[in-house]
């Protein structure tokens, strides 16, 4: 028994407990402990982050002449850490009052627990894949486990989940085709054999498997133009489920892409690989796909009027930063991309938790039906504030560090256009997260929300834990960067030269301890000025005065709809919804084909086909 066996068994045990006790009122608490135990199991393997080493599982099969093996390295460990933590906090969130209310509203709490446990287990299996076949099997398991989590709420989630599984199956089949091409050359699914053959393939032959695998794994990452499924599918998942999916689910695509692009093909080859009949390379294509994945979904998020949809669209955009950093391939960029996985998981989960808390209290996530909740739900506000600063990539939160690394890398690598694209994306993020927090927590309180209280501690605790993590890893990015350095050493990337406060190297230096210190010194001076200024007078939140009038509660002055009208007048015509149009065109085309095939089968005189075919075949034989 190796530590990996313990981890997988613990995860399996969690699924069993969820199956047996998921419907009990204490089930969530027990599950929280088993996730904590999984985290403990993972810590047994913490040594992986220091040296390029692997821990194999004693579980292995030989089937159809192929051997299936599972093993963990620094990369798997890092993703597993995020996965289990997301499962832990989501279950903790579900375990208390949220779950009770979910059940009372007719939700299937048991299935939610089971689905999250299955998701964690399948992701841990995927992250341990030791050859291409186990990679595919793990991939499919993850896809279908997510499908279960997405569809269990019923209602509008069904449509979204079906759309997801169609995209996911399309991706899986593209992967299978890519694997088949590799298998056709080697008769084997092992990583070394695949790496060998991928190294020796000519440019033209490398493109097909590379494209298929990138497309397939890109579906889960929601890379453009395969992104349409994600936002609705995540947003309609019940609160903690959405937080879990938003935190880690689509990063499985990034994990698989790292395995293929960096470990098997090698980033050097990707950088050199030319697009036929042009002057750009495969790396440029990937980088620009990532850049567009940042821009379009982020600006789509700007137009959302549902808090969950807004966050889910941002989840797609932030995935673009990860890929962009990664394909830069230098120490800074890849570190930024990888670190952003952790950072995004922490603040995104905090944001989803905060929104779910507001939904729990008010019953809506509609950005036009909220406002002024800051005094009612201060802890949720705090979590959201920390979260959006992280999401926007501003100091002192962790999102700033990873984005800074990516920007720095783009400049060093001489990619000014990509840099501009990334900054445009960040601009859209800042605008839309302001809309989010303004419409929910700032401005006018609605009368019906006057008596709302803060969410119970079982819900605030997970978001506060995450807020602390977001801040602490922003203050001391070295905590995360040590894992990143371990990954870079393992997968064969240049290793970042980090320090506790950030990095200190020839390519640039960043010390967040100083940045945060200066920032808080500024805040301190401001606070001193504010509080020493003299008398303050507290009024009720509904007691307002503006423009020479008393504003009573029945006068609505909270502008939430048609946010940023000036900006929209400028960029509004650019929203063409071309991808949605493309998708519906494919669907209609398929429908047409389908109808015509049915027409074929419905013909009244069936023997004609046989006759015609027989004659045709005979003609072919004779000629």
């Amino acid at each position: 028994m190796t530590p990996l066996d313990y981890l997988l068994l613990l995860s399996l045990l969690t699924v069993v407990i969820a199956l047996v006790a998921g419907h009990r009122s204490m089930g969530g608490v027990w599950l929280t402990f088993t996730y904590a135990a999984q985290l403990g199991g993972l810590m047994l393997m913490a040594g992986l982050t220091n040296q390029p080493d692997v821990i194999t599982s004693s579980l292995s099969f030989t089937i159809l002449g192929q051997s299936l093996t599972w093993r963990y390295d620094a990369l798997s460990w890092y993703f597993a850490l995020i996965t289990i933590s997301a499962g832990l906090l989501s279950t903790m969130y579900t375990a208390g009052d949220w779950g009770e209310k979910f059940r009372a509203d007719g939700g299937n709490l048991w299935l939610l627990h089971v689905a999250i446990a299955l998701n964690v287990l399948s992701m841990l299996i995927l992250l341990g894949s030791g050859d291409l076949l186990t990679l595919f099997i793990g991939w499919e398991l993850v896809s279908w486990a997510s499908f279960l989590l997405m569809i269990l709420a019923g209602g509008p989630s069904i449509q979204a989940a079906i759309r997801y599984i169609t995209y996911a199956m399309g991706g899986a089949m593209a992967i299978l085709a890519g694997l088949a091409l590799i298998y056709g050359h080697t008769d084997s699914f092992t990583y070394p054999a695949a790496a060998n053959i991928l190294h020796s393939l000519s440019t033209a032959h490398l493109w097909a498997p590379l494209l298929l695998l990138t497309l397939g794994f890109g579906v889960k990452m929601a890379l453009l133009p395969l992104h349409l499924w994600q936002a609705a599918a995540y947003a309609h998942t019940p609160g903690p489920g959405a937080a879990f999916l938003g935190a880690i689910s689509s990063r499985m695509g990034l994990y698989a892409l790292i395995v293929v692009l960096i470990q098997l093909v090698g980033l050097v080859r990707v950088i050199e690989l030319p697009v036929l009949f042009s002057f750009i390379s495969a790396r440029d294509v990937l980088a620009w796909v990532a850049a567009f994945t940042i821009i379009f979904p982020t600006f789509t998020a700007l137009r959302q009027n549902d808090a969950r949809m807004l966050l889910a669209w941002h989840g797609i955009g932030q995935g673009g930063y990860m890929l962009l950093g990664l394909v830069m391939g230098d120490a800074l960029g890849s570190a930024g991309g990888l670190m952003h996985v952790f950072n995004h998981a922490t603040y995104q989960a905090a944001l989803f938790f905060s929104v779910a808390a507001v939904v729990y209290r008010t019953g809506t996530a509609d950005l036009n039906r909220l406002g002024g909740l800051v005094a009612r739900m201060p802890l949720s506000f705090l979590a959201m504030l920390v979260g959006i600063i992280g999401l926007a990539g501003l100091p002192p939160m962790n999102g700033f560090v990873s984005k800074w690394l990516v920007y720095r890398s783009l400049m060093l690598e001489g990619e000014p256009l990509l840099f501009v694209a990334a900054v445009v994306g960040t601009l859209g993020t800042i605008l839309s997260v302001y809309k989010l927090i303004h419409n929910m927590f700032l401005g006018q309180l609605r009368v019906e929300h006057e008596n709302i209280r803060e969410a119970p501690w079982s819900m605030t605790a997970p978001m506060l834990i995450l807020s602390v993590v977001v801040f602490v890893t922003g203050l001391m990015p070295g905590l995360v960067l040590q894992w990143i350095a371990g990954i870079q050493a393992t997968v064969g990337l240049p290793v970042i030269d980090y320090s506790l406060g950030g990095l200190d190297s020839a390519q640039g230096s960043l010390d967040m301890l100083w940045v945060v210190g200066v920032l808080f010194a500024g805040f301190g001076i401001g606070a001193v000025l504010f509080y020493s200024g003299g008398r303050t007078h507290r009024v009720h939140q509904l007691d307002n005065y503006a423009g020479g009038h008393f504003l009573s509660a029945d006068i609505r002055y909270h502008y939430s709809d048609n946010f940023y009208p000036g900006l929209m007048r400028l960029i509004g015509p650019l929203y063409r919804y071309s991808f949605a149009w493309l998708e519906s065109a494919v669907q209609s085309g398929l429908g047409l084909l389908s109808l015509s095939t049915q027409g074929f089968y419905r013909r009244v005189a069936p023997a004609n086909y046989a006759l015609v075919t027989a004659v045709l075949v005979l003609l072919w034989v004779m000629l």
Partner: protein
């Protein structure tokens, strides 16, 4: 080991006895059929154990090949003989209106199917094939709404028989024999030519009618939608596989030429694409299952068109998987007729049925670790190893069809579990027998996951034996055992 002949003789005999016995004692008449099938099952089992996997041939009446009637018994033949008896027993029409007639027809179908699995010469294959046709017309026509589709089936099937007969005649004019082993010897000199290819194409189209081969499968949707569901289950599960088995034998032994494989590949691929596409827009469950069945059979043909043992292995895996899944789905569809939208929330009334449907759908789509995944993986690996662009094209077609398949199957699954549907009349409950039988199929699917490694190994052995034409010839011509049993034909 000669008692294997009994699996053809006994059901035929019983088929003629059933109406008489039923007149004397209704309960005895009802029990006769299942009893006989049980005996067949037992005989096949004992022969399988006795032969220990070695192939042997039986020359009925003691005439030496190529003159006499030959039964060839290898692992594959025994497997299908066993599955025939098992499936007929499991899908036995216990609750029919026209009992004795239905029982007799089912017994004839069982006898002829066993004969198809065992026959070692083309003439016998043709005879048993016709017998299968006759029995299946009768069974299809027992449905209340199925007279028009049954006639359509009859016309197409009759036309197919004519084509097959012409093909067989062509073979005979070229070689002067119909014994498969003998043909296999003569094929390199007499049949690897355009005339041989034409003969193969004609036989393929003829036998393909039952095997749901594109484009002679236009009877499938209507017949499966209107026939009693147990009959649809038998036709889709068993008869189509036996027809495919016949084509496989011919391909391995007689027509092992590139163009023959090419024809199969093309028609199979067209079957996959048209079947899955048509299923995408199907309006009721029976038709959807019928179209999906066309797609799955198309995959079997694509697999068989891969030369050598790999293709046989993959094709058998897909065929066997479909043989388990599709009958069960047809049983579940028995009470889920009408428009698909009418099924909203059907899981509330019958959770086990909905869960079973989900399990079968997952396996059909090929979700690991269910058997459907491994079968599809074998096919993908087999196609990937081939060099021709057409094989890669077929691979792409099959993978795209799988996406379509996932979409429509899970649209239905979500409809079944859709809770907040408007108050619509709840679908009828399933009969206990249907659920139990479908549960049995589901259990065997799960068991197959647990026994995956030994199962895949034994299937590989079967495929090796099947793909070895030289061994077939050696068994038939070198080891003649005589039998005093007369043929009952």
């Amino acid at each position: 080991m000669n008692q294997i002949v009994l699996i053809v003789v006994l059901p035929l005999l019983a088929a003629f006895l059933v109406p008489i016995v039923a007149r004397m004692s209704a309960s005895l008449g009802a029990a006769l059929g299942p009893l006989v099938m049980g005996v067949c099952l037992w005989i096949t089992g004992t022969v399988a154990i006795e032969s220990a996997g070695n192939a042997f041939a039986i020359n009925i009446g003691g005439f030496m090949p190529p003159l006499g009637i030959t039964f060839f018994v290898d692992r594959l033949a025994l497997l299908f003989a066993f599955l025939t008896a098992l499936l007929v027993l499991v899908l036995w029409p216990f609750q029919g209106e026209h009992r004795p007639r239905e029982h007799a027809l089912t017994l004839i179908l069982a006898a002829a199917s066993g004969g198809l699995a065992l026959s070692g010469d083309l003439f016998n294959i043709y005879v048993f094939y016709e017998l299968v046709s006759v029995a299946s017309f009768g069974l299809v026509a027992t449905g209340r709404r199925s007279s028009a589709p049954a006639i359509r089936y009859l016309i197409l099937s009759g036309f197919g028989s004519v084509l097959a007969l012409v093909g067989i005649a062509l073979v005979y004019t070229q070689t002067g024999t119909l014994n498969l082993a003998h043909l296999s010897q003569l094929a390199p000199t007499h049949l690897i030519n355009p005339i041989g290819l034409a003969a193969f194409a004609l036989i393929l189209l003829g036998v393909g009618v039952k095997a749901e081969l594109f484009p002679v499968n236009t009877w499938v949707p209507e017949v499966y939608a209107t026939a009693p569901n147990r009959v649809s289950a038998l036709l889709a599960g068993l008869v189509s596989k036996l027809a495919a088995l016949v084509i496989l034998r011919l391909l391995v032994l007689v027509f092992a030429q590139e163009q023959a494989l090419l024809v199969m590949l093309l028609l199979g691929l067209l079957g996959v694409i048209t079947g899955e596409l048509a299923a995408w827009r199907a309006q009721d469950m029976n038709r959807m299952l019928a179209y999906s069945s066309i797609g799955q059979l198309g995959m079997v043909f694509v697999a068989f068109s891969i030369p050598g043992e790999t293709g046989v292995f993959a094709g058998l895996a897909i065929a066997l998987h479909h043989l388990v899944v599709k009958p069960a789905l047809f049983l579940l569809a028995a009470r889920w007729g009408g428009a698909l939208s009418g099924l909203a929330g059907a899981a509330g009334g019958n959770l086990p049925a909905a869960l079973l449907f989900t399990l079968f759908a997952l396996s059909l789509v090929g979700v690991p670790p269910l058997p459907g995944f491994w079968a599809k993986l074998l096919l993908v690996m087999g196609l990937a190893e081939q060099v021709g662009p057409l094989y890669h094209f077929a691979l792409a077609g099959i993978l795209i069809a799988t996406v379509v398949e996932a979409n429509y199957l899970f649209r239905i699954v979500s409809t079944l579990f859709h809770r907040d549907s408007p108050a619509s009349p709840a679908p009828q409950k399933h009969s206990g027998g249907d659920i139990a039988t479908a549960g049995l199929f589901g259990a065997s699917l799960i068991a197959a996951v647990l026994l995956l490694i030994p199962l895949s190994q034994s299937l590989k052995t079967i495929a090796q034996q099947t793909a070895d034409a030289a061994a077939y010839r050696a068994v038939v011509t070198l080891a003649p055992t005589t039998s005093t049993l007369g043929d009952t034909q």
